[in-house]
């Protein structure tokens, strides 16, 4: 008898709570899917702006992965660089930077994204705003002239304009410094935003400037056609210019069920509706197609606003988030000094996500007041 119970103890089988099988889904697989979906945009950026783009992407990815590793070492957490989420942040950050960005700024961007926005708040799944966008906004406010220098490094013909632009931007940044000294926060903000718009106008860069100023020709360059915007033959951030390649990536994410359509559709729909109503000289005459194709709306709606950690978990909440992003984007584009508002819109809505989740708790199957219905 004793012998038998000994055998039982030694041969004790593995016990665990059900279910005893799991799907092949994994965090790494999802992140790999996102990276694959972003590759067309990286490829188009490289083709259009030249090989420097690859260098920028390499720097941001390396900066993100290394900061994640060091951070987790210092904080004595499990090392999670294997889940590829830091790589995704790096690639997204690169796509949100101008092609001529100095590499050291790109590197700092990666550090901000991972250390300041992701790891300090608890690592993957805990960040309160999209790390890549948060970093982009901090870079924009810190190095406005570099972050709004939209020249194409592949085109030497633009050299004149560049130096012009830089000079003006320099002048403006001096203005910023002066304003800084003046201790007035609001005037700093004003100066910064005017710096942005002036710099934008002078390098006659992003297509949204035409919408902002209502001009068809700026600095001798005509407003781009819809087809140019769709294919990506315009200036702008590395990854935002071509709607076509972004949609290819988005389709891949949808097929792989990594994202759902709730946020992109409600976001883009809201922008279209509001710019059509408010964007023209008279109500209901706005050029909504231009507002959809230009700027970083497509990149933001499909790849940034859908970020898991910073979007609601219920489809209903996601629609609310999309509409909110749309409203803020349009308000910034039409009524502020900034030509573009996608980054600000998304990070502002990111902050509301816990609240949205709280108000969209679904009714359980058969829950609440349905008790009397069948008897």
């Amino acid at each position: 008898m004793a012998e038998k119970s000994d055998r039982k103890l030694n041969n004790i089988l593995m016990m665990s709570s059900s279910p005893h099988i799991r799907s092949k889904e994994s965090t790494r697989r999802i992140m790999a899917d996102v990276i694959i979906a972003l590759l067309p945009a990286v490829a188009w950026g490289t083709y259009y702006f030249g090989p420097r783009v690859l260098l920028v992407a390499l720097v941001t990815v390396a900066s993100c992965v290394i900061s994640e590793f060091i951070c987790e070492k210092i904080m004595k957490r499990d090392i999670t660089i294997g889940d590829l989420s830091a790589v995704v942040t790096g690639v997204l950050l690169a796509l949100n930077l101008p092609p001529a960005i100095p590499l050291w700024i790109a590197a700092i961007g990666g550090i901000i994204a991972i250390v300041l926005i992701k790891q300090i708040f608890g690592g993957i799944g805990q960040n309160f705003m999209n790390p890549a966008l948060g970093a982009r906004v901090i870079l924009l406010l810190s190095w406005t002239q570099h972050m709004t220098n939209w020249t194409n490094p592949r085109m030497p013909a633009a050299a004149d304009t560049v130096s012009n632009a830089t000079q003006v931007a320099d002048a403006v940044s001096t203005a910023t410094q002066i304003a800084d000294v003046a201790y007035s926060v609001s005037s700093v903000a004003d100066a910064v935003s005017s710096a942005t718009s002036v710099a934008d106008a002078v390098s006659s860069a992003t297509p949204l400037i035409y919408a902002k100023t209502g001009q068809d020709v700026l600095g001798g360059v005509a407003r781009p056609e819809y087809l140019d915007l769709f294919l990506g033959r315009v200036l702008g951030s590395i990854g935002e210019i071509s709607v076509l390649v972004l949609l290819i990536g988005a389709a891949y994410l949808l097929i792989r069920k990594v994202i759902t359509l709730s946020i992109p559709l409600s976001y883009i729909g809201t922008v279209a509706l509001l710019t059509w109503i408010l964007g023209g000289d008279k109500p209901f005459t706005g050029d909504f197609l231009y507002h959809i194709l230009a700027g970083s709306l497509i990149l933001g709606a499909f790849f940034m606003a859908t970020d898991y950690s910073t979007s609601p978990v219920m489809e209903k909440g996601r629609i609310i988030m999309g509409i909110g992003c749309g409203i803020i984007t349009v308000v910034i584009r039409l009524y502020s000094n900034y030509p573009e508002g996608v980054s600000f819109a998304i990070i502002l809505m990111n902050l509301l996500v816990p609240l949205i989740d709280k108000f969209t708790i679904p009714r359980a199957f058969g829950g609440e007041s349905r008790i009397e219905r069948h008897n």
Partner: protein
């Protein structure tokens, strides 16, 4: 006549998952296993009060003899499945963690039938219910709820629909399927007995559409008898869960924390229905069970008719033994079954499958990583819950959060844990959360 039409289910429940079917034993006809050398019959094989042992060490027992009973209403008597000598009354840990008596019987191989086993007769509903109670029948789909309790709804609950559950949505298990293919006439006679008892107006048999042969056979028989509808259901886990099945077949939603009878429905597993017919014919209580024996390390996966109390090791031995040492043994399906600590555990009344997994299959249940809020668990939850927040509340022992996110509505089907890319132990934490909340409320 239009009778040959196979009706498709009315409603699609929210969420659910597509999982590998692994119905390797679908074509394996049931084979009868001989009498093992000894059996262990625990006194708790149902939901409710454990039975008291009615025999003592050294007693001679016969097949069908009552060896355990309880005075309580929510309980089910237990009978000997073999003839032989009681060698010991030991204690064992049951599946729900309770520590109960178990009768160990050394068999004599003669399988003499006890004199109490004879074809019963009954004249009214009350007598029939008494018979079913005496048969020891519990829900054979795996829930193990005493059948006589289920069949006695309070007077004010009008039952208009009897649903027979042949969905069998768990991977591997084919014991319900074999019943429909091999004993379809028994199922139909059982349905008539229960339909009269419940005064039900309609009978619906739900079968998933990955079992076309069962649908065909059942439809042919139902056509000749009429008034029974076979309903084809989309193959999607957990289609066989009671609330999901009722919704798919009738469009009715069982309210939170209520029973099917609250929407006029009684759900019975095909095997339970079939047993009722068998019992009324022969009077032999519940002493044997068809068990699907499968899993990557089993040499000959099969459907085996096993005497209740037979040790798992004997059943696996009967199926050709193992290719390699099993790492994990599960009683029931891989989604909701219970892992066993020992191969010396006995087959119980409601055991529908025993599965043996190797290390590789078992270790797909990996180490947890942080939740990335992908909300896949929300998308698959058939009860429309938010498993990720339940998980967080449970870990923080936050009972207010558990209540807010309706922890008690969870049916523990396992869809959320299955799909979770971070491999979080969602169902496990929700189970703990339920205990936590119950403790606080009491």
């Amino acid at each position: 006549m239009g009778l040959c039409e196979v009706i498709t289910g009315k409603k699609k429940f929210h969420g659910g998952i597509a999982i590998p079917h692994c119905k390797n034993t679908a074509q394996c006809e049931t084979i009868k296993m001989g009498v093992p050398e000894k059996v262990t019959i625990p006194m708790l094989q149902h939901v409710g009060e454990p039975c008291k042992v009615l025999v003592k060490k050294g007693d001679e027992v016969k097949v069908g003899q009552l060896i355990g009973a309880s005075g309580k209403y929510v309980s089910a008597p237990i009978h000997s499945s073999v003839s032989g000598t009681v060698t010991d009354i030991s204690k064992m840990v049951c599946m729900n963690g309770a520590y109960v008596d178990a009768v160990e019987i050394k068999t004599d191989g003669r399988q003499e039938i006890h004199e109490s086993v004879k074809p019963p007769s009954y004249h009214n509903d009350a007598e029939l219910l008494e018979l079913i109670k005496g048969s020891g029948l519990v829900g054979l789909g795996g829930a193990a709820f005493p059948t006589h309790v289920k069949l006695s709804p309070p007077k004010e609950k009008v039952i208009d629909t009897l649903i027979v559950n042949g969905a069998e949505c768990e991977p591997y298990i084919t014991s319900d399927y074999r019943e429909m293919v091999e004993n379809s006439w028994n199922i139909i006679s059982g349905i008539y007995i229960l339909k009269d008892l419940l005064k039900a107006k309609q009978v619906l048999i739900g079968v998933e559409d990955n079992k076309p042969e069962a649908i065909k056979i059942m439809t042919n028989i139902a056509n000749t008898s009429g008034k029974i509808d076979i309903i084809k259901l989309k193959t999607r886990y957990p289609q066989g869960a009671e609330k999901m099945l009722i919704y798919a077949l009738t469009g009715r939603k069982v309210p939170s924390r209520r029973l099917p009878m609250d929407v006029g429905v009684i759900v019975m597993n095909v095997n339970s229905v079939s047993f009722v017919a068998e019992y009324v014919k022969t009077g032999m209580p519940l002493i044997k069970k068809r068990v699907t024996v499968d899993g990557p390390v089993v040499n000959n996966p099969s459907n085996v008719e096993v005497l209740i109390g037979t040790h798992l090791s004997d059943v696996f031995e009967f199926c050709g033994g193992f290719k390699e040492e099993p790492y994990k043994v599960i009683m029931g399906g891989p989604m909701m079954g219970v892992s066993q600590h020992s191969l010396e555990n006995p087959v119980l009344k409601f055991t529908n499958a025993i599965l043996a997994f190797d290390r590789k299959t078992a270790e797909s249940v990996k180490k947890e990583s942080p939740c990335i809020r992908c909300a896949k668990c929300v998308q698959v939850c058939p009860m429309n819950l938010l498993p990720l927040f339940l998980n967080a509340s449970s870990i923080r022992r936050n009972t207010a959060g558990l209540k807010k996110y309706n922890v008690m509505d969870c049916i523990e089907c396992g869809c959320c844990s299955y799909i979770c890319p971070a491999k979080r132990h969602l169902v496990q934490s929700i189970r703990l959360g339920k205990v936590l909340l119950r403790k606080e409320e009491s």
